[in-house]
Symmetry: none
Amino acid sequence: MVWIDVNDSTPIYEQIVNQFKNLIASGVLTTDEKIPSVRNMAMELSINPNTIQKAYAELERQGYIYTVKGRGNFVSQAEKLAKLKTQEVLEHLESVAQEAEKSGMEIKQLIDYLESR
Amino acid sequence: MVWIDVNDSTPIYEQIVNQFKNLIASGVLTTDEKIPSVRNMAMELSINPNTIQKAYAELERQGYIYTVKGRGNFVSQAEKLAKLKTQEVLEHLESVAQEAEKSGMEIKQLIDYLESR
Amino acid sequence: MVWIDVNDSTPIYEQIVNQFKNLIASGVLTTDEKIPSVRNMAMELSINPNTIQKAYAELERQGYIYTVKGRGNFVSQAEKLAKLKTQEVLEHLESVAQEAEKSGMEIKQLIDYLESR
Amino acid sequence: MVWIDVNDSTPIYEQIVNQFKNLIASGVLTTDEKIPSVRNMAMELSINPNTIQKAYAELERQGYIYTVKGRGNFVSQAEKLAKLKTQEVLEHLESVAQEAEKSGMEIKQLIDYLESR
DNA sequence: GTGGTCTAGACCACC
DNA sequence: GTGGTCTAGACCACG
């Protein structure tokens, strides 16, 4: 369900965070569903438990999951989260749009690219 | 012409690189134009010359400027570079598009956003 | 495994880069093998860590190694790199060939030299 | 007869030295022929006379030209110089050969390349 | 004055 | 522990 790419320069914990956000936003993980424990996840990916811990803490901070001590980590209300993620993607899109403008491109070029994909 | 944002977590040298790439791509800096010397730039921004050095080395590596020892740094053929930068922006756009798909969004949402800007 | 020659006018970081490229191309270092950490290398050669850093950054840029933050630097797919290095050597050979022609020599002289080595 | 390439990272004075060495070795310039004065050369190439001075000094040091105060600079015995240059080229070839061996290549590959040019 | 390299020492993010 | 960035200050080659 989740995997890591050591060749990718983005921090491992961040790779994990991103993948969970995608899984939740796309509906693969549903509201109140339990996600793997820190230990299991660490063993499965054979990485340091601290790294998983950090990823889960970040997911909780951003509101994607909630923690119940002694029971595990669970997905928050997924419908709301989909909107959250959508907004985040649009913010990234906004960044690209601004980058394009700063370098003298027209927004139309971006639209053309998306349509021709 | 160029400034740095200490609150921005991206490395200073990278901020400088990006700004020069934009200035060149947008035609503000023209072919063979001299850019500020390492020392002047460092004093103006009150940061260490080594940091500017690193930024300029990266710009040269990416082909945006060329260096003449003892004389300074100069803008490469700007027309070609604009295309280079355009391609780079489209790659960033592609990343966002893939991120959108992974989280269950439709590309149309992105196009809508761009058109309504 | 690696050493530096202070009498050599080529920059220290470049000497290190070249030696690693040779070690990788010749198969002494194999795919995914870990190379010494920046700090260890610096202590062993008793030079500044920044210089090693620069060398490793250059090796990564040229695709010979990849970096995992917090873990270290590792050799990329060595088989492909051997071809890369071969191509580089042939480019150097081409330079010599052109130099020979400019100064009125015959290519045959070069071949004779290589055969009589 | 001689020109400089500012985009080339090799020092200007060295570019001039190399070109004269080639012109002499290939017989374009003959024994005791006068070469342009420092001033003329500097004006023609629109560069600093000091740079030409440095180039001529280097050529004299290597035995390619000799200076007569108040009269100018002249080409040394060209036949000997051709051999000198030949030897230099072979030394460069030797460097490439050693580089090839260090990276696990066969000398035959170099010969093949030269023959197929 | 220009860029290029190196040292010494520090701080941060990541694992 | 790892690599990445930055500062401060120095020396060299080049023009």
